[in-house]
Symmetry: C2
Subunit: 207 residues, 2 copies
């Protein structure tokens, strides 16, 4: 049963907030009461930032990352290696890989992964545009950096098959024991994979 709100406007705002993932009606009410204690300009700034983003957001015509112009700063950066493309699910993964400062190539944001249960097929993702980029001939390596879920594996395999006709190296990010993790508590599949894909000792510390 929904609690009875003393104000329709309040109920409306709670309903809107509670549509967000992971935000229930109690949290929504708490956040709104917090906003009500702020001054008008703060709340207006909050609302405006959202509508402005939604109405003017653009996606890079090359890698489909979110950006303010037609081509994102990463694709425009001439100092980056434009022959290597890291394929990721979403903009969050672009930011995560960028934060490592270990990758100097370009990205390709799929916008999701193949998931029949959610009704997401290859046509809903930016897979064809990836093939087009490869077909241009200047790409030497595609690094797949998708989640290790069934959906991620399916998407990896689909892309790998699609790229087979082209002269391009397809690699995957290494799977293994996280740094700081106890080997004792690692799951068998990860530990097994980390033994199969072991690296030479003197190559492990090149950074």
């Amino acid at each position: 049963m929904n609690p009875k709100y003393p104000s329709l406007l309040l109920e409306n705002a709670v309903n809107e907030f509670a549509k967000l993932p992971g935000i229930g009606r109690k949290t929504a009410l708490r956040l709104i009461l917090h906003l009500l204690r702020q001054d008008n300009s703060t709340v207006d700034g909050f609302a405006q930032a959202l509508t402005e983003l939604k109405h003017t957001v653009k996606y890079c015509k090359s890698c489909h990352n979110i950006c303010d112009n037609d081509i994102c700063p990463i694709c425009l950066d001439k100092s980056r290696d434009s022959s290597t493309i890291c394929v990721v699910e979403n903009i969050k993964e672009v930011m995560a890989v960028e934060n490592t400062m270990q990758f100097k190539g370009l990205y390709h944001v799929l916008g999701g992964i193949i998931s029949p249960i959610d009704g997401i097929g290859p046509a809903d993702l930016e897979i064809n545009s990836l093939i087009e980029r490869v077909a241009d001939g200047s790409i030497k390596e595609i690094i797949l950096a998708l989640s290790t879920t069934m959906e991620g594996d399916t998407t990896n395999f689909y892309i790998y098959k699609k790229l087979a006709p082209y002269d391009v190296k397809v690699s995957m990010i290494a799977r293994g024991i996280s740094i700081g993790d106890e080997i004792e508590y690692a799951d068998e599949i990860t530990l097994g994979r980390s033994i199969l894909n072991r690296t030479l000792f003197n190559e492990s510390y090149r950074m």
Copy 2:
């Protein structure tokens, strides 16, 4: 270090979202990416509900609850007992007490509790307006329903002192072992209080 966002508009929206209590920058980004996947009308509705609430919200002139008009529906309800006032900290507690359906009197929303650490004194709260309501003479009982924290106790005591000159009964909600709680694990103060304030067996089940 803040991660580098590929878009200024996105960074702006993340900053605004991350100002909310309990929402960090990662959660903010997750919520915003969710909103970006919705259509324009959903995001506009979300933003509009907030600004509309903030700009047109009213507080009941009598009990200071949030409402859409000058007087809230609870204060207007002639079937309620207008001689009993339940004093609460915030609108969330009004909703919680209303949900019990055990209280048929009116409310008085203080808008906070006395907390010197946060710089909140009696003058920042709706305490004077409560005294005025009592001074009118038609109130028979004031029920204090504030948190059992040091701040709540301070506020309780302050209100009790302020009400001393008036012919009004001041009561507090019962403190005791929660229904469903194990007595073995109850803290000593609550258990001690529940023994001191024990109720007659045949009176405990009147509902």
